[in-house]
């Protein structure tokens, strides 16, 4: 026992400062606590406001996925107003959600995750000089290219929605914008440029070719098949990941949740990757089997969070957000709540989406290695191969139809509704109750709330806590494994509402 010690590891390059409290036994982490130390109170700010105010206030929860919050807020209002959203509005919403996601996935990889390949921990690794050339902040080749190209794809959000971040163009019944033919043409050119860059620089091959990689064996063959593969950002990630042992760390809870990504228009030539009314299906994946997601099974536990209550689980329609700061005494240690699906913690994000869709490559990686920091990050950086082609198809369909973008709705007096979407980091839900024309209750569960969850009343660890526990650290002075594991979840510290901005401490 004498070799046990407690340390706090702060991280930067997550949205907000981040500190993780770790307990080591020798060189192995035996326990981890994730705790939010900032509270922004969004849910209470929403109370007594006008029924549409969620469309304006909630995008401000997060500067990097504001459009996803807008989509969740609008879908909750679609349900309350019982509005039929026209296909064209669904297409516009989807196109903008994909554009935001493309921005996020590339930035997360090049500006946040891969910077750790330049850590002094790797100074004697074979990839080190290449890592510095690619990923030195503000200077590396891949960094500069990512900054230049992600900003261009966001122009699509401005053409269709007015601005990024923080627009409010989605409303109950559709979208307010009515793009003209030339707007759509412009969007298509912007997407084409982005695709050419993504395929050349990030992927190293065409999206179509990549989708033929269906197993770990295929993946290894793909890497060696061409210098373009080997030299791309993805090729470098595969080489770096192998040497750094990313597939051996960051297992997590082994439960996954996805609410389903992109509502399918009623008439479209896009083929769904599942059968649940979404392009990428909804599902709760546990022990290799996929179940339908039923929002009634989602509960939040506050037994270890700084919120009053006796630790009972509440569905978000009954959820309360009453801050109760006890400081570091007692067992409460976080401003984040603990979401549970059917009583279980679950990780969310691109890997969960791939597994809910039973993507052959990621099913194979899961069967061979279990979930890991490697598969989680790989899922993110190749996700655009699944979304770029459908984005283009939906733009084409808007260009070829002359259908409305909005269905008028009546006065909003009373009702309840939920909007569940897939944000870049995973499952995001807004649960809204309106009474007498005012918001009575507004509860948000963001993706990072799932991933960064603290313990629950049964003592079950959240996904990050589980992913860290048991990790062997090579150099205790530079615990870069911790950075890789936490960043593989794409932590968004400002987004973890309730409204905690997760900084970390115990």
């Amino acid at each position: 026992m004498s070799s046990r010690k407690k340390v706090i590891v702060p991280l930067n390059r997550v949205e907000g400062d981040l500190k993780i409290h770790l307990e080591y036994d020798g060189d192995t982490i035996y326990d981890a606590f994730s705790a939010g130390t900032m509270y922004r109170g969004f849910e209470n700010i929403m109370k007594d406001r006008g029924p549409l105010d969620g469309l304006v206030i909630t995008p401000r929860i997060c500067g990097i996925c504001s459009n996803s919050h807008l989509a969740a807020a609008a879908k909750a209002l679609d349900m309350i107003t019982q509005c039929m959203v026209p296909d064209n509005a669904t297409r516009v919403r989807n196109i903008t959600l994909i554009a935001e996601q493309l921005q996020n996935d590339v930035r997360q990889h090049s500006l946040l995750f891969m910077v750790d390949s330049t850590s002094p921990a790797y100074v004697s690794s074979s990839f080190y000089d290449e890592a510095l050339a690619r990923y030195t902040p503000l200077k590396g080749r891949s960094v500069v290219e990512a900054i230049e190209n992600t900003k261009k794809i966001l122009e699509i959000l401005s053409i269709l929605g007015g601005q990024w971040p923080h627009s409010s163009f989605m409303v109950p019944g559709g979208v307010v914008s009515v793009p003209g033919a030339n707007d759509i043409v412009q969007c298509k050119y912007i997407l084409r440029q982005f695709r050419m860059w993504y395929e050349k620089q990030v992927l190293g091959c065409s999206c179509d070719l990549w989708r033929q990689v269906r197993s770990r064996q295929d993946l290894e063959a793909w890497l060696e098949a061409s210098p373009a593969h080997y030299q791309s950002d993805l090729g470098f990630f595969l080489r770096f990941g192998r040497e750094a042992g990313l597939s051996r760390i960051g297992k997590g809870t082994e439960n996954f949740i996805s609410y389903g990504f992109l509502d399918m228009p009623r008439n479209t030539r896009v083929q769904s990757l599942g059968s649940t009314g979404y392009y990428m299906p909804a599902g709760f994946v546990s022990k290799g089997s996929v179940r339908q997601v039923n929002q009634h099974e989602i509960m939040e536990d506050t037994s270890h969070s700084w919120f009053s209550g006796h630790g009972e689980e509440l569905h978000p329609y009954d959820g309360m957000t009453i801050p109760y700061a006890t400081g570091s005494e007692g067992h409460r240690y976080s401003w984040g709540k603990a979401p549970r699906y059917d009583g279980q913690p679950a990780e969310t994000g691109p890997l969960a989406q791939m597994l809910a869709a039973q993507n052959p490559l990621f099913m194979d990686l899961l069967n061979q290695d279990g979930p890991s920091a490697f598969s989680r990050q790989l899922a993110r950086i190749v996700r655009p191969t699944l979304t770029i082609p459908v984005m283009d198809q939906w733009l084409e369909e808007i260009a070829q139809t002359d259908e409305p973008f909005f269905t008028p709705y009546g006065e909003i007096r009373n009702g309840q509704g939920h909007g569940m979407v897939e944000a870049p980091r995973g499952s995001l839900g807004h649960w809204v109750i309106i009474e007498d024309g005012r918001i009575k209750r507004y509860q948000v569960i963001s993706p990072t709330t799932w991933n960064a969850s603290p313990r629950d009343s049964n003592g079950q660890l959240g996904p990050w806590e589980r992913a860290l526990a048991g990790t062997k650290i090579r150099d205790l002075k530079i615990p870069v494994e911790v950075d890789h594991i936490v960043r593989s979840f794409d932590p968004c510290l400002v987004c973890t509402v309730h409204c905690a901005d997760l900084r970390w401490e115990v």
Binding site: E15, K19, M38, R40, G41, V56, G63, I147, H166, F169
Partner: protein, 312 residues
């Protein structure tokens, strides 16, 4: 000599940082290089270790290293009960760090509405406030009489988020040693002397009072849908967003996000009005004249406008 810049994130969403990444000419990389800015710290960009980060803060707080520009993004969180512990940094309230760095900085820029005026949470339990204003009232966190080391008040560049060109323009002016001239609420006149309404492609509808009563129609959003374009200052329709468009151009009302009372406490997407004339009139407008003018304008509206076939 390069200038030291420290970017401090407080109670915010990071949206001003990502807005900055929208910048085109120059982009954020070119800008830092062109102005020879030494970025001591930015939470999304820095690669320094936690120990180095704390060391930088200590050296700056003690005046051992020069702090030329302090950018603050997000509000100062003072709750609960004035303790600031809803937002802590290494166990002490983040607001103490704001105070320590502000005491040393030559220039201080409040980037975005939260840092300028409190913004989201200014009316809430987190007791958020701006650096030198709390909504319309001078004072805020640092107090009415505060001046930075160069002798200037906090430079406020509100907006939710602040437009990238305003951030880069303000910092460029500071780097040249010619800080921008400030107007009301210590906002640079260059960008906040313009109304959001100026440059809106729906101006002709406003001119002849062709109203949009329901979303998705073609018309001016000011009379029924809560647009603040003629009421607030900002460059949205002068500089455009992402180099392409603006909310009002695509049919989203302006929500007045640069104004000290953002987010307003009355509902969005509707205009408070008296007999069909908005309660709040364009700045400096007399009610009787406005009613006469809009009555005549509506009567004079050309059929061409009412039946316009463009999508705007």
């Amino acid at each position: 000599m390069s200038l030291n810049l420290f970017w401090l994130q407080c109670g915010g969403c990071g949206g001003d940082t990502w807005s900055l990444f929208n910048a085109s000419s120059p982009n954020v990389v070119d800008f830092l290089e062109a102005q020879d800015i030494n970025l001591l710290w930015h939470p999304s960009l820095s690669v320094q270790s936690p120990e180095e980060h704390q060391d930088i803060i200590q050296r700056l707080s003690e005046g051992k290293e020069r702090l030329d520009i302090l950018c603050v993004e997000g509000s100062v969180i003072r709750g609960p009960g004035g303790t600031g512990m809803y937002d802590d940094f290494l166990g002490t309230p983040k607001k103490d760090l704001v105070y320590a760095l502000a005491a040393q900085a030559r220039y201080i820029v409040a980037v975005g509405t939260c840092a300028s005026f409190g913004g989201i949470g200014a009316d809430g339990e987190i007791e958020a406030t701006g650096l030198q204003y709390h909504k319309y009232d001078i004072g805020g966190f640092l107090g009415e009489d505060f001046v930075s080391a160069i002798g200037m008040p906090v430079i406020n560049i509100p907006g939710c988020p602040c437009h990238c060109d305003v951030i880069i323009g303000t910092l460029s002016a500071i780097c040249r040693g010619t800080p921008p001239e400030l107007g009301d609420y210590n906002m640079p006149l260059e960008w906040y002397g313009v109304m959001v309404h100026q440059g809106c492609t729906r101006n002709e509808y406003h001119e002849y009072r062709v109203e949009e009563k329901r979303m998705g129609e073609k018309g001016c959003l000011f009379f029924y849908l809560g647009c603040h374009g003629p009421l607030v200052h900002g460059v949205c329709n002068k500089l455009l967003w992402n180099g392409r468009s603006s909310k009002t151009r695509v049919g989203v009302p302006c929500f007045g996000c640069t104004r000290p009372d953002f987010p307003q406490l009355y509902p969005f997407f509707e205009t408070r009005n008296i007999e069909g004339i908005p309660l709040e009139l364009p700045e400096g407008m007399d009610r009787a004249h406005y009613m006469a003018y809009k009555g005549m304008a509506a009567a004079a509206a050309p059929a061409r406008l009412k039946k316009r076939k463009t999508r705007i």
